[in-house]
Assembly symmetry: C2
Homo-oligomer: 373 residues x 2
């Protein structure tokens, strides 16, 4: 008998090996990885301000004194350069690039700032710089078994948190207190915190897709939109939305609710390996348009989740990415009517070998289940 | 009698007027403000993915459907372009730049990515692009009376939260539970949450300057470093550090503690309008070096706080910024000994017309006050 679980270090080594193949294809001697989450995914380091230079002949983290011990604990065996407070980051990087004899350096052009690219070029005048955008993110879009297990846990904690909050709701609670209690509850179930600032929006505030909770009592609202997620230590995340309904549901609200739900379910049913993201988006968008709410769905259908709350792929118009097994995406259509309210329904979906699995399946979303006495 | 309080909109208008003078000096027709916090400071808009084009003849936000209602509420009277989901941000910006007849466009080169700068240039081939870095941040570094009042509130809430946590500490609590209780307590006092992920680090973990709290009981630790802050709704922040001491304090710990405290107090006493940031840093750094711990203070002395937790100015070697009245900075020297522990002491300091005011003065930091029975 031997354990099937890969040791930590192996996992990061194999991710770096995947990236090395991409680096080779890109025709550069090394890639300068500056994205914080990308560095974390490739090395296991959980801090910031630390960049990775990776190539066939070089693998070194460039960091500063705050992280010396943490790196030795989180990334055993990895080469590290600790710059002094008086040395600027681009100067420390330049030294490493030069001593590795790199002639053509790839950089993350979608993350590196224009100014930092210029600083690096000025201290490395003989190095050719080549933009290499989104390559680590493309690899990150397809999750391995361990990552999927973590996202599953983050989804389960979010669901349990929501059930507790739903059970403890009173009309005296404010949007803010609901948000805070939900976070505290998810922490009791093992979360490090929320994936993002929880949205709790009553009535007309539900029309604001990225609303910040307020301090007025919920009172006798007719709809309460909650968009929340759990963040685990190590940063894997979930992202869900439900709308609780109070009192007698008006015909208008029922029509909006059922339209969003049907659009979401159609989109989820369309998810399978090989389909383009824009096609999934279109399934929901077309249905909402047919029902007369086309102008009231002003955002993309969904996005990947993982170490970041918004990852690749994006489910949106013009998104040409093809879904693959191991991708995890949100599906979250919405209809927002200014000064009236809004409905968004969001689940987290794993693309499987032959279709899709709704990771948040156990959390009901039919209209009857959303009715609060 | 008339109120001294400026109406919201006036405040943002006067900030934009200050920036317009800078834009003129920079020799550009308009500045494309892409930094989220910069946009917020200039307009009052609290969401993301929204850019501001500002010039003598143009002032327009470019956003998307998610934020249509929110912008009309938060920024009454401001021109807005809402792009459709199928229109990319740089395409929407290009349209606005063209219709405003802008020939020379400044951009935030320290924030805009290399790729986005390229995308914009490709759709605006006849526009001259000019890097204009850090100008909004320079203005933001000097706080007005209302901003100072908010930071004061954030400091007061952080102090009250710490006092509660200190009173409720037990050896059964974990670093994580201390962090979570502290946040929940600060929320009871009116905070939206923490300014950053709270650091609670016992014993040797205190040597890790940016440690994430763990789930082991604190037990009978000898030192417990807590680095925390309150974030208000509207995002003004505080940032403090104290080290609680348990049991008999060893000579080594006492020496480290007193060295950090003396270094911090000397640095604070040096703060006044007209002094360069690097000089303040040097005061603390030199003292720590003289005491034999020069290699154990591996980060800058402090940083500005405001809407962001790390703002201008930086107190660090080579930081040439000159302190001005209205700036608010942390002063936080530390000594970190790997596999033993660390001490950092941090307060928030307002630069006044004739010196400095320690906003967190009421929170004791002498060694005796840190002793927990």
């Amino acid at each position: 008998m031997h354990s099937r679980k890969k040791p930590m270090s192996d996992r990061f080594v194999s991710r770096r090996e995947k990236l090395l193949r991409v680096i080779k294809q890109a025709g550069v001697n090394a890639l300068l990885v500056s994205g914080e989450t990308n560095v974390s995914w490739l090395t296991g380091f959980s801090g910031d301000s630390t960049w990775l230079l990776l190539g066939p002949k070089v693998c070194v983290l460039v960091s500063d004194g705050r992280y010396e011990t943490q790196i030795s604990e989180e990334c055993p065996g990895l080469d590290v350069v600790i710059r002094k407070p008086e040395t600027k980051l681009h100067e420390a990087i330049a030294k490493v690039v030069q001593s590795a004899g790199i002639g053509c350096l790839g950089f993350e052009s979608h993350l590196l700032t224009w100014a930092m690219a210029g600083d690096l070029q000025s201290v490395l005048p003989n190095v050719e710089f080549k933009p290499v955008a989104g390559k680590v993110e493309e690899l990150r879009a397809v999750k391995d078994a361990e990552e999927i297990a973590k996202i599953r846990t983050a989804v389960d904690i979010a669901i349990r948190g929501f059930q507790v909050i739903r059970a403890m709701l009173t009309s005296e609670m404010t949007e803010v207190s609901v948000a805070h209690e939900l976070e505290q509850t998810m922490r009791r179930f093992g979360a490090a915190g929320t994936s993002f600032e929880t949205i709790v929006a009553a009535n007309d505030r539900a029309a604001l897709a990225h609303y910040r909770p307020g301090r007025e009592p919920i009172g006798d609202c007719s709809m309460l939109l909650i968009d929340w997620g759990a963040n685990l230590t190590g940063n894997y995340k979930s992202d869900l939305t439900r709308v609780l309904l109070f009192g007698k549901v008006t015909q208008k609200l029922a029509k909006v609710y059922q339209t969003v739900l049907e659009a979401q379910q159609r989109a989820i049913r369309s998810i399978r390996p090989g389909i383009k993201c824009e096609e999934v988006d279109k399934v929901a968008r077309e249905y909402i348009r047919q029902q007369g709410y086309g102008r009231r769905f002003g955002h993309g259908l969904g996005h990947g989740i993982g170490l970041d709350i918004h990852e690749m792929p994006r489910l949106a118009p013009n998104s040409q990415t093809v879904l693959q097994p191991g991708m995890v995406v949100t599906v979250e259509p919405g209809i927002y009517l200014p000064r009236w309210g809004g409905v968004r329904i969001e689940d987290d979906i794993l693309v499987t070998r032959d279709g899709a699995e709704v990771l948040s399946q156990s959390l009901p979303k039919d209209m009857e289940s959303m009715l609060v006495d």
